[in-house]
Amino acid sequence: MTVGTRPVPPGHLLWLAAGFAAWCSAVVVLYAIHAIGCAFAWSAGPLRLCIALVLFAHLAVIGWLWRRLGRADPSPDFGQTGSFLRTAVVLATIAAFATTIFTFSATLLLTVCV
């Protein structure tokens, strides 16, 4: 810690995981909705709509995180550690956004319950 700076609160470390935690949530919720929809023989349209809504909701959350964390200037009070963590958080969030698009795009295109 540089002289004159204050420590980054430990809770800020959770932001490192926020983007990918949302990605994990997308995996679990999409898999669950898909399994439930197919088990109860939902028709393809509503099931696809549910899946799309869940996907876009998660993308919106991760996108919001990216926008919020990316725009905020690192507090100079937090010194080099704050700067390091902020960059790492933004990169991790961007990676989570790209991963979400890559992994779940096919859910909008493929036949739902084959």
Partner: protein, 843 residues
């Protein structure tokens, strides 16, 4: 009240300081070795034991290669072959790979981070003994001919008591769970120690990259092992008490086991890989003479890898009938996991390209790693593609891929790390004349053995067959594979000879022979039990600590804690992100308690194995009692206030701060427990939605009054725990509140037992009853553990170990009971909702 302290000796010469510290930190001789809790001793024991199991597992692997070298071989009977390949896989994964990386983490991490030990030395020792006893149970079963024989992932229904009667599968379930408990305790300890016990000034941006790797790995272990532990418990309960979690004829589903196993199994691949990648990220910059390129990108990559590795467990289940749409996103996830891995590979290559690499023994193995891991990674992406996986599934192609990514990606960095850090352990360098031929034998042998398996797999050879007719076109490939296995074994034997020779004839070296920049080289060689005579202040970037210049001043006691006080084993606790010194941590001295507790645990496991359930219960109670006993000697018996730690800094002891290691340890333990609970909820819902033979003929309406009573009693206990804490702060009647909390928990247990007694269908008749019983048992067991917390509180209050400033005990109890209420609400709510959910199935 602040007690007066011994005046720290000022300006002690290095030798005198060394003698004073050694007298406090050293492990005794003779039988006292069994009381060792020091991280260096336990870390070395972990590694040595892991190598013994590696040897046994290696011999088993060679036996399989002898059997498969020629067609129609009758070297082994099929029953024996089943045990041999099952134990080969189980030993290599559970008794070698994971414990080895734990040993490396335990031994090296405090040294690299500038600490004197881990946060919970007695837990480290307990973890080791659990590992040793669990491994011994598995090995003894092999000698007795009753070893597990259902494959290292123990698929149901093959491993159910219908198809595997006898104790073979029980040995695996109980033995592996025993070892996993060890792994989980160590994971929690590693996380807390890295976050809270670094050298002052070592902020997270200055933390050596090895620390990041081990931190992320340990966090992955915290979340990855609970699914396997839950699955093993459920399967053992099914085998022992006939609750049908996995039996499709009674509403269970074998695929639930696969889900739980691979929720552990896939992250486990990265749990094994990441510490080795941490070793590579430490070794490569030193050998290249250039700082690691892309430190920040690597940190992000390993965070991404950790998460994505959890989301791809289904790629082991591509052939079980999951709908295409779900397969698509698990396939895409399995492919994209290559990206963060590639970030690391390119960072290492860039580091080498920017520097002037030295071509020495560790670098031979680094080269071997690059080659092997690239091969394994590429076949991994191939198997991530569903159409290819459908063709190659369950063939030797998968065996080849797995050995390239798990065995190769572990063995080669492991040997690089061994040769790199051996001078730290022994003060001697390897003998080049033996080391290099050994490398080439291992490298050539490895590729000959496992590359051929790709080809046999593509030619249709299924895994786990004990022989073949000879007309399939696999003969020469299998023979070459077996020859390669022997060449590799000769190579490993040469490595052992090389290491033993080095101990006696290796060239003696001075401190930091590689010109490294990490703190483990700033200590005496071999390391003293206290690691650093005084703890350094870190003022520069990661992996740039100039140990050669730092070491003499640390030895003279010019860092933090360069003195002894009260005969305490002292180290420093720091702020999680900034690394500023914030607490003085006083660690426990050597004790036989970890050994006794592990022995009692072993008795419980063996009693379960041989179906002496009352004895198992009694031993489990003894274990609980020993944990309560261990807690009695933790902490300090009076308030001290801030104490000097050197360099003009004073900090309070860990007993008097809010964020002490035990507090964080309980939080991470709850994360692990919460993962297990989430898996139990998942299992319940999974069976509801997917298992055959649902709905059952009868369903029960749970007694709402009992459920509400259980919930209310849990809430009373949690509120009373808060009252106890407030009362402690006001010097009031804490005992009364604790008594009320105890009554609440007893009432909750009674109500839950009443609920279990009224379950219809009975837990042995249908999975609905079984999962309901499991959810309720979870609530009751957590209330029971809450009683242990309260008992410990009462004992420690009576012994004067708790005060308004030393309130950690009561805060831990409050946290546990809050958690018990939260999980209780979910569990009881799900139990109440299950009849309605089953009703949906009927419509």
């Amino acid at each position: 009240m602040s007690a007066s302290l011994d005046r720290p000796p000022q300006g002690s010469p290095a030798l005198r300081l060394h003698r004073q510290l050694a007298a406090i930190w050293a492990t005794g001789t003779g039988l006292q070795r069994l009381a060792a809790v020091n991280h260096s001793v336990i870390g070395l024991r972990f590694m040595a034991t892991a190598f013994v199991f590696f040897g046994i597992g290696g011999v088993l692997g060679m036996l399989t290669r002898v059997q498969l070298a020629t067609p129609k071989a009758d070297f082994m009977a099929p029953e024996t072959y089943n045990q041999v390949f099952t134990m080969h896989g189980s030993m290599m994964l559970f008794l070698f790979a994971i414990p080895l990386l734990e040993g490396i983490a335990v031994y090296l991490t405090p040294k690299i981070l500038g600490a004197r030990d881990f946060a919970f030395p007695r837990l480290t020792a307990y973890g080791y003994w659990c590992y040793l006893f669990g491994g011994t149970i598995l090995s003894t079963a092999l000698l007795a001919g009753v070893a597990p024989d259902g494959g290292w992932f123990m698929y149901t229904p093959l491993s159910s008591n219908v198809y595997t009667p006898g104790i073979n599968a029980d040995v695996w379930l109980l033995g592996v769970t025993f070892v996993e408990i060890s792994a989980l305790t160590l994971a929690v300890e590693i996380v807390v120690s890295i976050l809270k016990m670094r050298a002052p000034g070592m902020s997270l941006d200055r933390m050596p990259i090895f620390g990041w790797y081990i931190l992320i790995t340990a966090l992955m272990m915290v979340a990855a092992f609970p699914p396997l532990i839950l699955g093993s418990i459920l399967l053992e309960v099914e085998r022992a008490f006939h609750l049908p979690f996995f039996d499709p004829t009674r509403g269970g589903d074998p695929l639930l086991w696969q889900h739980l196993f691979w929720l552990f199994g896939h992250p486990d691949v990265y749990i094994i890989f990441l510490p080795m990648a941490g070793a590579l990220s430490t070794i490569i910059p030193v050998m290249a003479g250039h700082p690691l390129v892309g430190y920040r990108a690597i940190v992000v990559a390993i965070i991404a890898l950790a998460f994505v590795s959890f989301g791809i467990w289904v790629h082991h289940m591509f052939t079980v009938g999951i709908p295409h749409l779900a397969l698509a996103f698990f396939s895409a996830s399995s492919a994209i996991v290559a990206v963060p891995t590639a970030v690391q590979i390119f960072a290492w290559l860039a580091t080498l390209a920017h520097g002037r690499p030295r071509w020495n023994v560790p670098m031979h193995y680094v080269f071997g790693f690059f080659f092997i891991f690239a091969m394994g990674g590429l076949t991994g992406v191939m198997l991530a593609m569903v159409p290819f996986d459908w063709q190659a599934h369950n063939s030797y192609f998968v065996v080849a891929h797995m050995h390239y990514v798990v065995a190769g990606a572990l063995a080669f960095p492991m040997l690089a790390a061994l040769y790199y850090w051996l001078p730290l352990l022994t003060g001697r360098m390897a003998m080049y004349q033996l080391s290099v031929p050994a490398f080439w034998l291992v490298f050539v042998g490895f590729n000959l053995t496992f590359f051929m398996m790709h080809l046999t797999g593509l030619r249709g050879m299924p895994r786990r067959i004990y022989t073949y007719s000879g007309e399939e076109g696999w003969n020469w490939l299998n023979l070459l594979s077996s020859v390669g296995g022997f060449i590799m074994t000769i190579g490993f034997a040469l490595v052992v000879i090389d290491l033993l020779t080095q101990l006696r004839y290796g060239r003696r070296v001075r401190r930091d022979p590689w010109n490294a920049e990490t703190l483990e080289w700033a200590m005496p060689i071999p390391p003293a039990p206290y690691n650093f005579a005084s703890i350094p202040n870190v003022g520069s970037g990661p992996d740039r600590n100039a140990p050669k210049g730092l070491a003499p001043s640390l030895a003279r006691g010019e860092g933090y804690l360069g003195f002894v006080r009260n005969g305490w084993q002292e180290t420093l606790g720091v702020h999680m992100t900034s690394g500023a010194a914030e607490q003085l941590i006083v660690l426990p001295r050597p004790t036989y308690l970890p050994l006794c507790t592990a022995l009692a645990t072993a008795v419980a496991v063996l009693a379960m194995l041989f179906q002496f359930y009352l004895l198992a219960l009694a031993a489990a109670l003894v274990v609980a009692g020993l944990f309560v006993l261990a807690a009695q000697s933790a902490g300090l018996s009076q308030d001290y206030g801030p104490m000097p730690v050197g360099n003009g800094v004073s900090v309070p002891p860990h007993t008097e701060v809010a964020g002490s290691p035990p507090w964080w340890a309980l939080i991470f333990a709850l994360v692990a427990d919460g993962t297990l609970f989430a898996c139990l909820v998942f299992g319940t819902l999974y069976l509801w939605i997917s298992a055959p033979n649902w709905p059952p003929e009868q369903t029960f309406a749970p007694d709402l009054r009992l459920a509400l009573a259980a919930f209310a009693a849990l809430v009373v206990a949690a509120v009373a725990a808060r009252g106890a804490l407030r009362s402690l702060a006001a010097d009031g009647m804490t005992h009364g509140w604790i008594g009320l909390a105890g009554l609440g928990l007893v009432a909750a247990i009674a109500a839950v037992v009443g609920l279990i007694g009224g379950i219809v269908p009975r837990p042995t008749e249908h999975a609905l009853g079984a999962t309901t019983a499991a959810l309720l048992a979870f609530v009751a067991s957590h209330a029971g553990i809450g009683l242990l917390f309260l008992l410990s509180n009462l004992l420690r209050l009576g012994a004067g170990m708790v005060s308004s400033r030393r309130s950690l005990d009561l805060r831990l109890t409050r946290l546990w009971l809050d958690y018990a209420v939260m999980t209780g609400v979910v569990a009881l709510g799900l139990v109440l909702a299950l009849p309605a959910l089953v009703g949906i199935l009927r419509t």
